[in-house]
Assembly symmetry: C2
Homo-oligomer: 589 residues x 2
Amino acid sequence: MKGNSSYTYEAGERHAHKWGYTDTRFEFVDEGSVRVTGDRYPICGYTMPYFIPFAEEVLGVSFRPGDVLPERPQEELPAPRENAAFVAALREKLAADQIADSDDERLRHSHGQLSVNEVYRVLYGAPLERFVDLVLYPQSEEDVHFIVEMANAHGVCLVPYGGGTNVSGALSLQRSEERPIASVDMSRMNRILSLDEDNLMACVEAGICGRDLERELSARGYTSGHDPDSVELSTLGGWISTNASGMKKNKYGNIEDIVLEATLVTPTGTVETLSATPRNSTGVQPRGLLFGSEGNLGIITKAMLKIYPLPKVRKFGSLVFPDFATGVAFLKELRQGEGVLPASIRLVNNYEFRFGQALKPAAKGIKKLEQRIQRFVLFGVKGFDINELAACTIAMEGTATEVAHQEKIIFSTAKKFGALSAGASNGQRGYMLTFGIAYIRDFFNQFGILGETFETSVPWDRILVVTSAVRARLWEECEKRNVVGRPYLSFRVTQTYHTGVCIYFTMAFSSLGLEDPEHTYHDVEGALRQVILDNGGSLSHHHGVGKVRRAFLPQVHSANSMNALRQTKNAVDPNNIFSAGNGVFGDPI
Amino acid sequence: MKGNSSYTYEAGERHAHKWGYTDTRFEFVDEGSVRVTGDRYPICGYTMPYFIPFAEEVLGVSFRPGDVLPERPQEELPAPRENAAFVAALREKLAADQIADSDDERLRHSHGQLSVNEVYRVLYGAPLERFVDLVLYPQSEEDVHFIVEMANAHGVCLVPYGGGTNVSGALSLQRSEERPIASVDMSRMNRILSLDEDNLMACVEAGICGRDLERELSARGYTSGHDPDSVELSTLGGWISTNASGMKKNKYGNIEDIVLEATLVTPTGTVETLSATPRNSTGVQPRGLLFGSEGNLGIITKAMLKIYPLPKVRKFGSLVFPDFATGVAFLKELRQGEGVLPASIRLVNNYEFRFGQALKPAAKGIKKLEQRIQRFVLFGVKGFDINELAACTIAMEGTATEVAHQEKIIFSTAKKFGALSAGASNGQRGYMLTFGIAYIRDFFNQFGILGETFETSVPWDRILVVTSAVRARLWEECEKRNVVGRPYLSFRVTQTYHTGVCIYFTMAFSSLGLEDPEHTYHDVEGALRQVILDNGGSLSHHHGVGKVRRAFLPQVHSANSMNALRQTKNAVDPNNIFSAGNGVFGDPI
């Protein structure tokens, strides 16, 4: 994925535990400057003189080469729990390289990308307490059926594993599970099985990651349009089981809109609709069981997706508003008024705007002059306050007519709200910055900074209420716990809906001097989630429940709803082979 | 609902068993002309000279005043099955007028609007075999909880009853049910409980019918946008439990898009999400259990709906295409190309076009001249064949900009397909004709014509395949069964989707001389449904499964899916109090 929006996601070697690719990491150029290695993203390959000073200012701690914490050496894993009959049965049918139990593979498959409780622990904190005992690599739906059948027969638990990017603790293992646990890595089931150009559908294996899906579709002139922040790494099966949302939702929909039908293999058989038709009224839809199933019910093997011809025109844009509240009012008017929405439109608050600016290279020559003029207009003519303004990034896709129409409506509406256009390149940069966030998290992790993103959906009139309340509570919690320096909190509106939006928060604070960093972090995050719920926000917009949010479920669903879901699971997995314990299926906390 | 698209649905006395209002019925003006009484619809109040001749031509039988079948006198119903303890418990809490058991009320609540197996039987055919024993009228959610609790405690079955417009046999009762059955008529739960103008949501009781909902919303400047053919009579709860679709789906969505959350009262408690937020990823969504539940799981009491400000502009349009296939190609281009869709766009085939023409008044004076010119252009200049052409009705709604943009794209695209604009008034007329269809059905019913609509969703490339196959099979079936005259089959595309469309068929043939009209009809319809399934169509787009389509479910869902759904029901209704037996919950056939 180069800076030119060519959307060619390139493969590469992945970090064992951190986010992303080994070619991409922050390194110090000198005491106070960093640069990102490689050339994978727009933020790669240049010196960033403003970033460390910005981070030191907002977090109030020092980020110098000497402050880097050493990674903990990886300890030897406890011996895998064995089930000889199960493994013998598997060996009858699967190839040798489809069954693995090395420490390295077991550890990689025993966590997701939950920042503090998973990545930070693996690299710096207290070791994980439970590991998968075996890693299996099915290559076909038949393999999956066989694995599930054998696991069910032999009392072995299964955890479906897609891209390993989950951030809700869904991949972490319950200590209470005494049976052997096998991770079922779906990465080899990554083929497009059929592509129907007339009806614009494609049947795709669920282990395909977004990068490969988009590369293969685009070679044939199509796109799925699903573009989550994790698109390079996360998989189709993961998207369905997490109930994912992509950045270009306004044009292509969320995952439940993109996927027509999918196949779930459970211990008692397959949950699937036998043909994919446009829309149905055939009683309660079993497909509803797949979205948000979080590995609790079975393994998703394939899905029928809507596909779209590659858009003829792609155009970025950006806007600057005097403040966040005005930006919100603009988004509301755009959504509820004309209802013309670009593929993606996101509004970042002031902190996040300045964060983005801090990642820029040093300005010089003509660029410096341009920036001066820009600054003059913003702060002189328009009277914007650099510590108040908010920015909007816009990505439009479609036919020439469609994009032109959107552009006209969006920019004329923005004008009414006193916004200033900040150009296409800033828009593109803002859109692509998304892909760098988790690398930045890992950079700060090594200084003992505990950081995480979390999201919610809220009605329109709760946006400012929720963001203020979260901010106030975070400061309070950190003060109470004597956190060193200052907490960081920024947020953005990443999706708009008729009745409200998704707010995406980024939070960080230093663990230096904390007695139990992981629990502290968990407690603070829990307190913020309660503040969100108390003020009308939802438990999660697209990250899911997993384990970190399951204690809140009784505030979301009636007891009878949860009971019904548990009985449904019982019907398809009577032996609880899929014992991941996510959401309502976990042990009550 | 007057001819002027003012959208004021007026209340009125309903027919006991036939469709709609008693002020509206066909009556003979003379031997060969009819007129529709009253002034409720655009087809009311004028003489139709072409209608009887058209019907006689296409069906090949005679429709003269003397051919009308007498309605069967209503026999006395069998005594209700009693459960004295249940009734005594109810009387403790409910008012006297909330409990009814007159023959009239029992009979009205023992059927829906399934044409042949319900309405025809009640009026002309073999009497129904099972009736509800009691009719209850809850006035609050508390009443519903109480009724469900008592029914569960006393072994009484419940059938939720909304507008009584179901056309899948969902309201017909299973003979095998030996316990008393109470119909729970929701019509008194028809209030808007709250309306949130900021976030555009309204919480509404489920017994409200579309007419009342729209009247009350519109008095406050809003609309739900849900406009099914049955909107005057059907209810919110019915829409959810049937998984309904409205004519203006392109702008407002199908019912699952319109309803954010809803409440289902079951014997073990309430299935509901405790707050309505824009979009969520909180595990498998219990709300999925409500859509398509068809009365099998409990009673839907209220729902949180999206609402929209009343559109500033409403505009109709119509197009004529040389043939149906060209119209289909146009719709496909509009959907998959620019993706600009008006609130409603529907394409009728030639038969249905001529059917609409036959309902017109005699042309005279200036109108006659206009029609001559129109005919000249169509058949002279454009060379259209009156027996081949197809027509499209268009309803646009929104801001002035939105409607202007749609108009531009739609008509310029239509031009590429050789279409001719046929004016706004034809468009409006076509749109409103929908509301007359069921009255026409009832008119023909009295001549022994068995008629029904049925629908399916199909991928784009199956539209012509499915329509041809259905037509061929219908002719074959009728020939085989020595049906008098000719069968009638017309169809329209009522909804478009990215991957295909909804096709809505109207079928009719004469029962004269048939030994067992109802079974014959049922068998023919079943044969056509099999043809649809065999050629890539779905079991139902929006009418539901009920009882008439449940035998086909094993062709739609895997056995394991159906088992999972049955277990879910068992969790919330362990005593099978909601024993309606629709869809997968019915006795296997």
